[in-house]
């Protein structure tokens, strides 16, 4: 008797295990994923790019996932509530797409150990909080190369938001890229103390152009810089999304973020039972950003140079922050042959040679 029941139990257990295994293979319910946006999806900028990524994810995985988003979530105490709400409502993956959600994400993650949180552009992680970011300084570098070819005055301009490392390294990369073409190029920077304010962005662009800058890059969220550049007959680049349509004559190229691939990978990993926990800081190589829509006026020589550098970035042969890197006074910050570590890049707080002016707050 005992042996029979033992065998029956064993077979039942095996059948049970098999059915569990089968269940893992076929997703009964779609994976619920939620996105927390700091701006409106229609901003044509940062949030727009994330939402494009979300839509790509939906296209790639179809009925396996069910996505939703909340837009215009302020980065204060409201964010914690929103994130917590999303977690209680069955979302298994929550993406908080702005730096200002860092503490809130961490707090909520503590209460929901089974939910996977992904925080963009932050620097604090946890067992269920994964950091992801994109190396926008790579397309900024490529834009610099183009700028180097297109500038007549040898002066570049940068409309900047706040002196955080993310913006500083983009300014540096832009300048470094341009100097590979013309070693004496200088970059002027104007800080407008906001991420989005078309009126201020316009005035900043006017100021830079008035100082002789004829190729502008921005780290802000509207296309005012492009519009102003076209009005004044100089060039500029788009940022976050393809901004050709705003100023076809002035637009040289756009530095865009591409999130769809990462979102798809993260979802697939979760579906397979092995969520991504590694901090991801991807660039051209991982397909997480790009330089697109190059203007036809850009000469072939410039295009070839950009394509070559892009290929080098993709293969890992070239890293932007490789020595020699010189500070504004000409002293060598990083000797040839060495590269900045990711931590150093993530906390960079100095200008490189060629950038004019003083970094605010230092």
């Amino acid at each position: 008797m005992k042996r029979k029941s033992f065998w029956i139990a064993g077979i039942a257990a095996a059948l049970g295990l098999a059915s569990v295994g089968a269940g893992v293979g076929t997703a009964a319910e779609p994976l619920k994923m939620a996105f927390v946006y700091v701006g409106p999806v229609g901003d044509g900028g940062w949030t727009f790019a994330h939402d494009l990524g979300r839509k790509t994810l939906e296209k790639n995985l179809g009925s396996k996932v069910q996505t939703s988003y909340v837009e215009n979530v302020p980065e204060g105490q409201d964010a914690e509530r929103v994130i917590r709400d999303l977690a209680t409502k069955g979302n298994k993956m929550i993406f908080t797409t702005s730096f200002g959600y860092m503490e809130q994400t961490l707090k909520v993650a503590k209460s929901f150990p089974k939910v996977e949180f992904y925080h963009a552009t932050g620097f604090k992680s946890a067992p269920n909080v994964t950091i992801y970011n994109t190396r926008m300084y790579e397309p900024a570098y490529l834009a610099g190369i183009i700028a180097g070819h297109m500038t007549k005055s040898g002066k570049l301009g940068f409309v900047a938001s706040f002196p955080i490392p993310e913006v500083v390294r983009n300014i540096n990369a832009y300048t470094m890229g341009a100097r590979t073409v013309k070693p004496n190029i200088t970059t002027k920077v104007v800080w407008i103390s906001t991420w989005y304010d078309p009126s201020k962005e316009r005035q900043a662009a006017e100021t830079l152009i008035g100082q002789g800058a004829d190729v502008l890059l921005q780290n802000t969220d509207s296309s005012a810089t492009l519009q102003t550049s076209q009005d004044k007959g100089v060039y500029a680049f788009g940022w976050d999304s393809d901004m050709t349509a705003y100023a076809p004559k002035a637009h040289l190229a756009s530095c865009i973020e591409v999130w769809g691939g990462y979102y798809t990978k993260a979802a697939e990993a979760e579906l397979a039972g092995k969520p991504l926990h590694q901090t991801v800081w991807g660039g051209i190589k991982e397909g997480m950003n790009d330089l697109v829509s190059l203007n036809s006026v850009i000469p072939d020589e410039a295009r070839k140079q950009v394509a070559a550098k892009k290929a080098d970035m993709a293969s890992g042969k070239f890293m932007v922050f490789t020595g020699p890197i010189k500070l504004q006074d000409g002293s060598v910050k990083l000797p040839a042959g060495k590269s900045l570590t990711d931590k150093e890049i993530d906390s960079i707080n100095y200008y490189v040679e060629g950038v004019e002016g003083q970094l605010p707050g230092k």
Binding site: P198, K200, R202, E206, G210, Q227, P248, E356
Partner: protein, 307 residues
Amino acid sequence: MNFSVTPLVASALAAAIPLVIAALGELVTERSGVLNLGLEGLMLMGALASFVAVAHGGGLAVSLLCGVLAGVAGALVFAVIAITLQGNQVATGLSLTILGTGVSAFAGRQYVGFRAPTAFSDWPIPVLGKLPIVGPFFSMNALGYFAVVALFLISAFLYRTRSGLELRSVGESPSVARSLGLHVTRTRYLATLFGGGMAGLAGCYYAVAQFKMWQDGLTSGNGWIALALVVFASWRPPRVALGALLFGGVSALGLWLQTVGIPVSTFALASLPYLATVVVLVTISADQQALRRYAPASLGKPFFDGD
């Protein structure tokens, strides 16, 4: 480093024109005793309406009209509640801002991402347009010239016409005005709708003249600056222009100072336009009588125009 005043003036002027248009409209409204805090919402609605017009192939005149009508429509809603139904003007205006922001953001979603097919271009006056310093005043676009004309017309209206006097009396003392046979409600309605139309026009400037696009929150808080300018101007039109130019000019100056390497915090420089406005206001308010003389006495107070 190069410093020439002319680009600074041009930059200040470009920022000042929509502020002047919106502030002049609000000035007329406030002179009749009505405080409309919904300017930001009205400007956004006007901006979207005029952008939609050009996006669908309309010409500049049509887009102007659409912008004005959108502003008037919003102001009408406000007027019914604040004037006829005597709802608290401060709260109603703020609610209008919320409403206008929401309506424009929602209706504008499919109009994001491209440039206006047509836009106002500059009409420089030969010779005068090239003068140093004052040149920019002679190479504005149609709306810029309109702002200048409006400045003179509104001044003349307020101080040299009978209707203007009536408007001002309504704003000072509606009960006395009423007893003199003036139609208080109608005057206030007209003044409010006019203010709304001007706000819509200012919005049109942002969408079809300056930025040639639509985006959520395109006016980025300039409606509040326009409101502040009316107070700054002590409700007198010429000072509106002074205030707008001061604000736009100091903003541009602060940005320029960044590029010449002055070791002052960029945040301190960014606060200059706000501080300058306060300092100038304090200076010109030194005359204690002025404060009492120029604020419309019945501003913000509801008036029951019946028995």
